[in-house]
């Protein structure tokens, strides 16, 4: 294998794939970066077995030549040293060559490195994904989907399946759902005609992978292609492939949890609510569950209060746009409420309650796509 490449392009790709590489891995080969040279470009792969990132550097793009003198082949290089070497090389072009004894030579200007490589055959084979089972979403929409749901995944491993986000396709809608059994976040988007015949119906993507994906994707209008196989999911942008393993098992049925009628409906300004709950939570933090109290009053007034006997208490009145239905006193976790309000991304919210001991849902006023559900806390 041999090629001469622009250092900046190589550096960008190395940085991308390094995000997947973990120093604490049980499989020795995964401490390396796989380099593959093909006639049309060079592909780098990094993996910690949960997620794998592939970055492709094309031979040329828009008339600019990035790579020259490609001799096809592949090798695995130690990820501990390679990025630093590339960063500190003296010149803008890098020549990388691997011989049949797995020796890698990196040349740039007058400096020359010799590294011991590993056999690329030892590297895990990532599944070949078929493009016919895929669909496309704009990157910024996907990032939004992730942001609005992933915070609600469970962080404890007692029910491993809940550490993931359930992605399912039903009724021409794509639905992302995450829950830790105390709260639930869901976001639906309508699917276009061409994506109707998607082969999968429901998969669970680990929350950690989605957080990582969100970091890597840039905020653009360009499309991300998503394909699902039996055991992996692939998110593909132009030159970056992000693969994640899936969680094994059946996701609990969540649609029954969402109440379909309500006794009290509160309309209010998202920002005002968020800020007053944030203030009330300052004193609630000492408390175990971070609990704040929420009470409806006459004249569209809401009272938000919190009390921790050893610290003090706080009471705040907020004016709602309107309050319909029965009077209500309810307590809930301020953290969950704040997370939910932040994820709404709308100026006005509608909160539907069905009694003090029943879960309540928060939605933006103008659409049904985002739904946040929170279980109240029982207080005496």
């Amino acid at each position: 294998m041999k090629f001469i490449i622009q250092r900046d392009q190589l550096m960008d790709s190395v940085q991308d794939v390094m995000k997947a590489i973990s120093s604490r891995t049980t499989i020795p080969i995964l401490t390396g970066i796989k380099l593959e040279a093909h006639a049309d470009g060079v592909k780098l792969t990094g993996s910690d077995s949960d997620i794998s990132i592939e970055s492709f550097i094309p031979k040329e793009e828009e008339g600019i030549v990035y790579i020259e003198q490609i001799e096809p082949g592949s090798i695995v290089i130690q990820a501990k040293y390679f990025p630093d070497i590339v960063r500190k090389l003296p010149q803008n072009t890098v020549e990388i060559e691997a011989d049949e004894h797995l020796k890698v030579t990196i040349r740039s200007g007058n400096s020359e490195f010799h590294l011991n490589g590993q056999d690329a055959d030892e590297y895990p084979q990532l599944p070949k994904l078929h493009t016919e089972d895929s669909f496309e979403l704009p990157t910024d929409l996907l990032k939004n989907l992730i942001k609005q749901t992933v915070f609600a995944v469970s962080t404890v491993e007692t029910r491993p399946i809940l550490t993931g986000v359930n992605m399912k396709v039903a009724n021409k809608e794509l639905d992302f759902v995450a829950t830790d059994s105390h709260r639930l976040a869901s976001r639906k988007i309508p699917l276009t005609e061409e994506t109707e015949n998607i082969a999968f119906s429901s998969v669970v993507i680990p929350g950690k992978s989605l957080i990582e994906l969100n970091k890597i994707l840039e905020d653009t209008q360009e499309n991300v292609e998503i394909s699902v196989t039996e055991n992996q999911i692939l998110f593909r942008t132009k030159n970056l492939y992000f693969l994640s393993r899936l969680l094994d098992g059946n996701y609990p049925e969540t649609s029954r949890l969402i109440p379909d009628q309500s006794k009290t409906i509160v309309y209010g300004n998202t920002k005002e609510l968020l800020q007053s709950i944030d203030r009330a939570s300052l004193l609630a933090k000492e408390n175990r569950n971070n609990v704040v109290r929420f009470q409806t009053k006459t004249d569209n007034q809401l009272e938000i209060s919190s009390n921790s006997p050893e610290v003090g208490n706080v009471v705040e009145e907020v004016t709602a746009k309107s309050i319909d239905g029965e009077e209500l006193k309810i307590s809930f976790s301020a953290k969950y409420m704040m997370d939910a309000l932040k994820a709404i991304e709308s100026d006005q919210v509608k909160i539907e309650f069905t009694g003090a001991m029943r879960p309540f849902i928060i939605r933006p006023i103008d659409n049904d796509q985002v739904l946040q559900l929170i279980l109240p806390v029982r207080t005496y």
């Binding site: 020795p28 491993e157 055991n231």
Partner: protein, 328 residues
């Protein structure tokens, strides 16, 4: 030992059982391989893993050439998880990691294999965690537990595994093989008594430390017999500086056990079984001094000392106590 037919030479019973279950596609969800050191537990486990993953197997024999086989051999297969004790025991975190692994789908296929080396070294916490997914096996996972002492594994774990007992090799067979490799008769006999693993035996016989250890053991017995009042000095000046590590001390005591065994053989006139053939004269002399009953008593004492070392008793104290007990 890369094929089942090779394996059948040394472990005929287990190989037969496993090849049958492979060819009938009835591989159990959990196996417990137990057998003494060097009986090829890990080799069998890896072979079984290859048979599960290899795509071009013929009559249950893995090809040893494909990527899957090679990566299992080098430990790089992403769906084969090997757990070895981290320090003295297998910790809860290691099993937790495994548990997390099992909530994910496989990287290349949905078939997974996990191999737990020295499974008796699991902490209680770790064993109970492991039990959780031995009890509810997923269809595509195969567990292989390796141990030298199946009795110290939790009863509840044992009952959920198919137990495979590996036969210890015949010492005379090992001795023959070692002699073929160029060891002297006496040496080969000693090595065969200590280990079943040809490779380990060869390494041991070339080790200078071990040669000195043998000398020290004979010297210790001499001191104990001739000048018991000096035995404490001997322990502190010569024995302890040489046997610094716990493993080394175990080896020293193993050698001592062989010596007293020889003494018993001498008493019952089974001279073929004697291992220290180079020291026949001394054995003769000492067997006058220590009766058969004494020798048996000493063997118990040495075993007791070995147990104490495992229980973290200070090694110097263990040795002092042992020498006092043997003097009498």
């Amino acid at each position: 030992m890369n094929t089942w037919s090779d394996m059948a030479m040394t472990q005929p019973l287990v190989s037969k059982m496993l090849t049958n279950s492979i060819s009938k596609d009835r591989v159990s969800h959990a196996y417990l391989f137990h057998g003494s050191k060097g009986t090829g537990k890990l080799a069998i486990a890896l072979l079984l893993a290859k048979s599960i993953f290899c795509k071009n197997k013929e009559l249950g024999e893995p090809c040893n050439k494909c990527k899957d086989c090679q990566r299992i051999e080098t430990g790089n297969h992403p769906d084969v998880h090997k757990i070895i004790p981290d320090g003295k025991s297998i910790k809860k975190d290691q099993i937790l990691h495994l548990q997390k692994e099992f909530t994910y789908t496989g990287l290349e296929s949905n078939q997974k294999v996990y191999i737990i080396v020295d499974a008796d070294k699991m902490t209680n916490n770790a064993s109970n965690r492991l039990l959780k997914f031995l009890e509810e096996p997923s269809k595509m996972a195969t567990a292989m537990l390796l141990t030298e002492n199946s009795q110290s594994i939790l009863q509840t774990i044992r009952s959920r595994c198919q137990i495979m007992s590996l036969q210890p090799f015949n010492p005379s067979l090992v001795q023959e093989k070692l002699q073929e490799k160029g060891l002297s008769g006496a040496n080969a006999k000693l090595m065969a008594a200590l280990t079943n693993n040809i490779y380990a035996a060869m390494k041991l016989s070339e080790d200078e430390w071990f040669a000195n250890a043998r000398k020290l053991v004979v010297q210790l017995v001499e001191v104990l017999q001739a000048k018991p009042e000096e035995s404490m000095l001997f322990i502190h000046n010569h024995w302890m500086p040489h046997f610094k590590e716990r493993d080394q001390l175990h080896q020293g005591l193993d050698l001592l056990i062989l010596w007293f065994k020889d003494m018993i053989y001498k008493h019952i006139e089974n001279e073929d079984a004697i291992i220290y053939v180079n020291h026949m004269d001394k054995l003769e002399q000492f067997s006058m001094h220590w009766s058969r009953q004494h020798a048996i008593g000493h063997l118990y004492k040495i075993m007791e000392a070995k147990r104490k070392i495992d229980q973290n008793v200070h090694p110097a104290l263990v040795m002092e106590q042992l020498t006092l007990q043997i003097q009498r």
